[in-house]
Amino acid sequence: MTTVSARPGAPARYHPWVVFCCRRAARLVVSLFVVVTASFAMIRLIPGDPVRAALGVDAPPDLVAAERHELGLDRSLPEQYVQYLPRLAHGDLGVSLVTGEPVAELVRARLPATLLLAVLAFGCVLVVALPGGVLAAVWTRGGRRPRTELVFTATTSVLAGVPDFVLAAGLTAGLAVALRILPAAGDLGSRSYVLPVLALALAPTAVLLRIVRVETLKVLATDYVRAARAKRLPAVRFHVCHVAPNALTASLTFAGNLLPALIAGTVLVEKVFAWPGIGSAMAQSVVAQDYAVVEASVLVLGSSVLLVNFLVDLALALLDPRSVIRKT
């Protein structure tokens, strides 16, 4: 009677959690496969000869041929793919076309800096937007304080429209070059994190603030909030226990989708701040036409995004167990 019953009519052979985890894992595997195949295909599908492009137009033909042989580009595509997968499994990402150094080394050295930047920015987004959005909703519900609402809407829509790399350039010009408050580039201790994190986090914060506010307004209009209001609980308890959990589970789904976008967004921001991460490596390689590094960066960033997506889904399912039953 008071136990969780499976969806009526559905075959109750497996626990919903098992079904849920299996489905998510299957989706992860399929999408990882897509990323691996795409990164494999990239260097081979690029119009023209990437090896010649990397070595320069005037490179001697036998050097180009030797390099092609070294990379295995002179064999048939299926043959190359069969070789590619086991090498990937051993963590071999090939060598840079320009410097000849192993790409895996580069990734190992630079990925932590990128992830740290993305995670810090994500943390800032959550810390500011979740309570901020709830407060904004409580202040402006039912058409109260129309001026505050106008200011909120205008500010967040302008901030949400500011692209991270433009903001990064503006922050560099303003705070680092003109005012000399903060270091402009590179990773030189904790102070140098401020500008990149700020540039990455500001626009997603504005977006999430609006989403949290809308979700909170929805919750404030529900019957169960009216029922809770009838109990005249202290304002803090009322908002923290009755309003926030329901508003935040819906908002966290959106927030979870922001983290992958933040990881991708680091590419542009890292270029501005010369941040020693994987994104700036990718940007430099694009200019140098070093497609082996671009390929590896796409692979690494894509897989990180997928992995993060998977973890976010699991975390959301733990927070809101009903979604597991609903989605499976």
Binding site: V162, P163, R226, A261, A264
Partner: protein, 625 residues
């Protein structure tokens, strides 16, 4: 807001068209004598490596920046919308496959996909546009899929399918027109993000290639010398933000226009009494110690899209300790708003006024806000109509039962749990502590309503307002719930205001019945008299409309002709006069006041027809047989 948006968009269009014509030549003219100049009056933004004027280049770049963004958005929207709309018209299996494909594509951030494809297609404007179109298509596909699923579930789609319409016709004629508006809104917003993404690609060196230029490339070139000269980097950034914000505002404006059609106007005017009625209401009646609740001349004004409506217009009622009073009336008669006004739970924007409001022997006017909240919290409880939505889905039942006593009485947790268990036993719910640990969605509707009643009686309040507590439940559960309410009234001496549209249920369960029509109480009488002694024409028609098992099946069911009165309450006279068979000339002009007729019987009618209606007589005859 609207004006600003239009000015911003207009300036962009003018710049896009005129920019290349007016400044194109100047932007391309290299001046070897003035390379990398700082901003001067001749060159407000300075010059670049070849001595070209940066302001001219910035203005001339409007067209090459905006056009690819719009093109990429339109291409992506076309592809995505087609993919998403297909899910609505193909068969189940194909639709599921398409859905899975969209989910898979959405897992990759658009920017990363665009970078990958731009590198694949070769750096250049064409490649970047194609890459971006592909990258933004899944987002469009998902939105279209969601919107189309709503359309696919509608009756007219089912009808169209039964008629055997071909798929592409179904898509073009039935699905797309119904979702066009939100899609256009989404396209506007996406154009802004495309502009940003394209600039980002150019900034990375994957988009526009020199000697062509757009804002992204100008920003990238400016950034190389940002340490010496910030302006060449900041100016293109401002241009990108300006355009992005213009698109964003356009989206907001469209969304706002769509939402405004449904949003009500707030009550601006202080709710003044429209007609002076104070002299009609007997506020001089002595306050009775025995009364739990006394309300005189309660009025509620509610703002809507069509102006202020007044759903409650001068309700006067009183409940004695331990009395169960039924409040009946048809939908829209103002019963629920009366209850919410008494409980001070009116929706945002609604305003209540009253001539007198005494609760538990204290005048509410004399209490401070805090005292009033405390009095309402401990003295009054509510049971709502829909038990499915009356509990917070994310909190355990135990928390929701005990939090009020803990907050207002300071009861320790263990003691509060014991009290809750006692209340659950009283409402005949087995399960005890296990039930307290469960969440609302694990209970059935009947169980939830029992928990709601247990929760309402936790404080042993003086008054429980039950707003249609049985309407959402089936008949056997209805009876159990009524029994529970009666028992709580008997055990605790709690007064119960029972709101319902079911006059038979009310006559059966309550001591006294208040009949509400058009925002006023038209009759108040003891429940046993309802069947035979009702005097107001509306009450009698209501009683006559109840079918009973003895009713002859050949006779048509009684119904009340006409519709409910105008909710704005502007019309003078008795609210029932145009449906009333006994109306007088006076009824259309002057509104009758609730006046005593007999012991415990009051009616608001200028000439109440004599008692003994046909329905009651027939019941008596049945009883005699």
């Amino acid at each position: 807001m609207g004006v600003i948006t239009l000015v911003m968009l207009g300036s962009l269009v003018v710049l896009a068209v005129a920019g290349a014509v007016l400044w194109g030549q100047q932007a391309g003219r290299a001046d070897p004598s003035a390379v990398l100049r700082a901003p001067t009056t001749g060159h407000p933004l300075g010059t670049d490596r070849l001595g070209r004027d940066l302001l001219a280049r910035l203005l001339a770049a409007t067209w090459p920046s905006l056009l690819p963004a719009v093109a990429a958005t339109l291409l992506g929207a076309a592809a995505g919308i087609t993919l998403g709309a297909l899910t609505a018209v193909v068969d189940g299996r194909a639709a599921r496959l398409l859905g899975a494909l969209i989910t898979l594509l959405l897992a990759f951030p658009a920017l990363l996909v665009a970078m990958f494809l731009a590198a694949l297609f070769g750096a250049g404007t064409g490649g970047a546009v194609c890459a971006l179109a592909v990258a933004c298509a899944p987002g469009f596909a998902r939105i279209t899929q969601t919107l189309a699923a709503q359309v696919a579930g509608t009756d007219f789609m089912a009808a169209a399918r039964v008629l055997g319409l071909r798929r592409h016709r179904l898509l073009l004629r039935h699905v797309l027109p119904h979702i066009a508006e939100p899609l256009m809104l989404n396209t506007t917003v996406a154009a802004g993000s495309s502009l940003v993404a394209l600039s980002g690609l150019s900034f990375l060196g994957l988009g526009t290639q020199p000697p062509s230029y757009d804002w992204g490339l100008l920003l990238s070139q400016g950034l190389d010398r940002v340490y010496t000269e910030p302006l060449p980097a900041v100016a293109p950034g401002i241009a990108i933000v300006y355009a992005a914000v213009a698109f964003q505002l356009l989206g907001e404006m469209l969304a706002g226009a769509a939402a405004r059609q449904a949003r009500p106007h707030p009550v601006d005017e202080p709710v003044a009494h429209p007609e002076p009625v104070a002299h009609l209401v007997r506020t001089d009646r002595p306050a009775s110690v025995d009364h739990v609740l006394e309300v005189a001349d309660l009025r509620v004004a509610l703002p809507t899209a069509d102006g202020v409506v007044r759903p409650v217009r001068g309700v006067t009622l009183a409940l004695r300790r331990g009395e169960m009073v039924g409040l009946v009336g048809e939908s829209g008669s103002g019963k629920s708003l009366t209850a919410l006004a008494i409980a001070d739970l009116l929706p945002d924007g609604a305003r209540a006024t009253w001539g007198r409001h005494r609760f538990l022997g204290t005048d509410t006017e004399s209490l401070s806000g805090k005292e009033r909240r405390r009095q309402l919290a401990t003295g009054m409880a509510m049971v709502f109509q829909n038990p499915a939505s009356a509990f917070n889905p994310s909190l355990r039942i135990g928390t929701q039962l005990t939090e009020a006593v803990r907050a207002h009485r300071g009861t320790p947790r263990a003691e509060a749990v014991e009290q809750a268990l006692a209340q659950l036993r009283r409402v005949a719910l087995p399960g005890g502590r296990r039930l307290l640990r469960s969440r609302p969605f694990q209970l059935s509707g009947g169980q939830r309503q029992r928990v709601a009643i247990a929760s309402a009686s936790m404080m042993r309040p003086g008054l429980i307002i039950a707003d249609e507590p049985t309407t959402a439940l089936d008949v056997t559960v209805q009876r159990q719930i009524m029994d529970l309410l009666r028992r709580i009234r008997r055990d605790d001496g709690t007064a119960i205001l029972f709101i319902s549209h079911d006059i038979a249920l009310v006559a059966d369960a309550c001591d006294r019945v208040l009949v509400m029509y058009g925002g006023t109480i038209v009759e108040s009488l003891p429940a046993p008299e309802l069947a035979a002694g009702a005097r107001h024409p509306y009450t009698r028609m209501l009683v006559a409309s109840v079918p009973d098992l003895a009713a002859e099946r050949d006779h048509p069911l009684h119904s009340i002709e006409g519709g409910p009165p105008d909710p704005s309450g502007a019309a003078p006279g008795c609210p029932f006069h145009d449906r009333c068979p006994h109306r007088l000339d006076r009824c259309a002009v002057e509104s009758p006041v609730l006046s005593p007729l007999g012991p415990g019987h009051e009616v608001a009618c200028w000439q109440p027809p004599a008692a003994a209606p046909s329905h009651g007589r027939r019941e008596n005859e049945e009883a005699q047989k």
